[in-house]
Amino acid sequence: MADFEVPEITKEYTSVPAVKEGTMAHSLPFISKLEFNEPLGYPGELVDNWKEVVISKLKELSGKYRSLKVFLDSCIKCGACTDKCHYFLGTQDPKNMPVARQDLLRQVYRYYHTFTGRLFAKLGIPGFVGARELTKEVIDEWFVYFHQCSQCRRCSVYCPIGIDTAEISMAAREILDQIGVGHKYCNQIIEKAGRLGNNLGLPKPALADTLEGLEEEIEDDTGVAVKMPLDVKGADILLVTPSADFFAEPHVDGLMGYAKVFHEAGISWTMSSYAAEAGNFGMFIGSYENMRNLSLRIREAAIELGVKRIVFGECGHAWRVAYSFLNTLAGPFDFLDPNYPVPQHICEFTYDMIQKGELKFDKSQNDHMTLTFHDSCNVARASRMGDQPGGQFKIPRAVIQAACNNFVDMPSDTIGEATFCCGGGGGLLTDELMEVRVKGALPRATALKSVTENHGVTHMAAICAICKSQFTKVLPYYGFTMDQIVSVHQLVGDAIVLSDAPKDDEEPDETDAA
């Protein structure tokens, strides 16, 4: 099935392997091209003066981002993070230990921008203080290993100084892009989203067509004309959802779930063809400008359509950008209804409706499954839901449990703030990185296996488009099947009782019998 060795699931979901150097040195992302780079403001190929550019960018970024400056100075090499990264646990490559990944950048920073590094470089022993001269080899290593970080922030939970390797990876990718060594997957997507409004490059007619098809599907299924409105001016809510929701499985079942919730709540809503994308890959490449450009489309769509609220669909990093950054990048949103947070997560919306008693469920519809829930890293460690810290763990579980009878959590050191990444986040969800994706999924696969065996779990629910795509692709390597991954709002959609549904055939039967 694979041209690499799939790691074996051991009993201990957090067993730490021995260091084995260079196991992932061959993992090469595809390099981006002029046509994708230029619109993003980057050169099309490696620039001649790359060395100067890297050195000066490093200085510039450490002056613009306090995180970078403090993190580059403060690591004490305590080793607390060394066994926390799923990519290290799955590959044994020591350069996938968070601190070693940071060091790839930090060594160069030390060499050129610190007193100690410069002094020891002059003495001819930069390595004594962990400094390293910038060579083409270093750039190659950056390209390889900064594309083996899903920016999941698990390391930042455990670092006594709070050092977040994701910040370092983002800075490194921004620098690489500045010298023309970008990642094709990310840049191509950003270019598309910037031009067409979604990562897949779906034009409006295709989008409208898809939504129409889904409306028909729901009506065939339930007998109710649940609408999936597009570009409707004056609707109350603008829904911004990852474009994968329009066609991928199980994402699309989630989308139909949101539609049913809005329908049942009786609130008017719309999607926008101009901003038909929640995902924002600008974050993955560490580019404030690109992230901002994509975010502004959402602001413009909200103004254009005259909505009162913005709600985001199920997606992890999208929710990070939405919850943590949108107000900064594209705010203030003072033209929207001040009674609701901007933006809201679809889980928050559904949860509120459940609390208000607006939604009725027939939980038995999901009785053929025993569920567990995968906390997406960006939701868990980089955002929140509701008004209490930790709401991001409670609310999705409450929504699942409102719709399902059988729910079991995975082991506690693999969920919540300690959750393991799916292995495909951070812009790694591309075929050429399949090996690192499969290996990085090992800790999650192990945890899933343990609840499968001990508690009869049959399905894992997720609230992230990337997690869903990644799991359907990589879990089969570990002996699971694709359809074991479900969307949270798929569960909601399957169990929700539509109050205007035609009465079931059985009911007259029952009355007859009575």
Binding site: F71, Y158, Y323, T328
Partner: protein, 250 residues
């Protein structure tokens, strides 16, 4: 004054200047560098008070480290606690007995804890050193300077303890030397090799502080993942350079 005393006087003025100026420069640099995005590691406090509490648990208890690895936590916390105890004990070489703080530092508890805390320090440092050598992951990330830092502090602690338990030095003369530094009227340093080693290494530690990983001490207070309030939806967070980009906006 002996030539050696002159040397130590100059050394300490130099070390103190580098330490204070260097550290101030760093801290001002951290404070002035903008943090353009809200990036607290969540779940995070939603109020300022909550953030103060979070930082307290990190600084005083090494909360995150505790979650990460118990062994490093035990040794690391032991070492830093004893560092603090040693600090308080050393105040009596610096403060005058007339000072209002004198009773707080010249009492049985501080003196005892400071003295025997030395053992904690040696054990803690030895444990951290052991991890660096024996755990393959930590060995991989260690540069020679990381070992040397531990050896440096270990030697400071060891020479200090030798003086306090084995070979007492001339405390009266030492105190005269220290107060002399503060009053700019240099005095002789006791002629004692242990003391001289101890002090030379302390001066070295002060000098490397602002240019080494010891910057983690101020760094932790400036770490955006720990010191930011989780309220991005309620309050718009925007820094100057980012606001400039908005000039073009509709």
């Amino acid at each position: 004054m002996s030539a050696l005393s002159v040397f130590y006087t100059i050394l300490f003025y130099l070390a103190a200047t580098i330490f204070v100026v260097g550290l101030a420069y760093r801290i001002i640099g951290y404070a002035k560098t903008p943090a353009p995005l809200k990036i607290p590691t969540t779940p995070a406090p939603t109020t300022k008070t909550g953030v103060v509490f979070r930082l307290f648990t990190e600084v005083a208890l090494f909360n995150s480290l505790f979650k990460a690895t118990k062994w490093t936590w035990v040794f690391g916390w032991m070492f830093h606690l004893s560092l603090l105890l040693a600090f308080f004990r050393h105040l009596r070489y610096v403060l005058s007995p007339d000072s209002v703080f004198w009773p707080f530092i010249n009492n049985w508890l501080v003196l005892f804890a400071g003295q025997y805390g030395g053992f904690l320090m040696l054990i803690g440092l030895a444990g951290l050193f052991g991890r660096r050598i024996f755990v393959d992951r930590v060995r991989y990330i260690s540069a020679p300077s990381d070992y040397l830092m531990l050896i440096l502090i270990f030697t400071i602690a060891a020479t200090g303890m030798l003086m306090s338990f084995v070979e007492h030095t001339d405390i009266v003369q030492l105190k005269a030397f220290v107060l002399g530094l503060f009053t700019f009227s240099p005095q002789d340093l006791p002629d004692d090799l242990l003391l001289q080693t101890h002090l030379a290494l302390v001066a070295a530690l002060m000098i490397i502080f602002p240019v080494s990983k010891l910057l983690h001490a101020p760094g932790i207070f400036f770490s955006p993942t720990r010191n930011q309030v989780d309220n991005p939806r309620e309050h718009r967070h925007i820094v100057e350079w980012a606001a400039k980009l908005e000039a073009d906006r509709k």
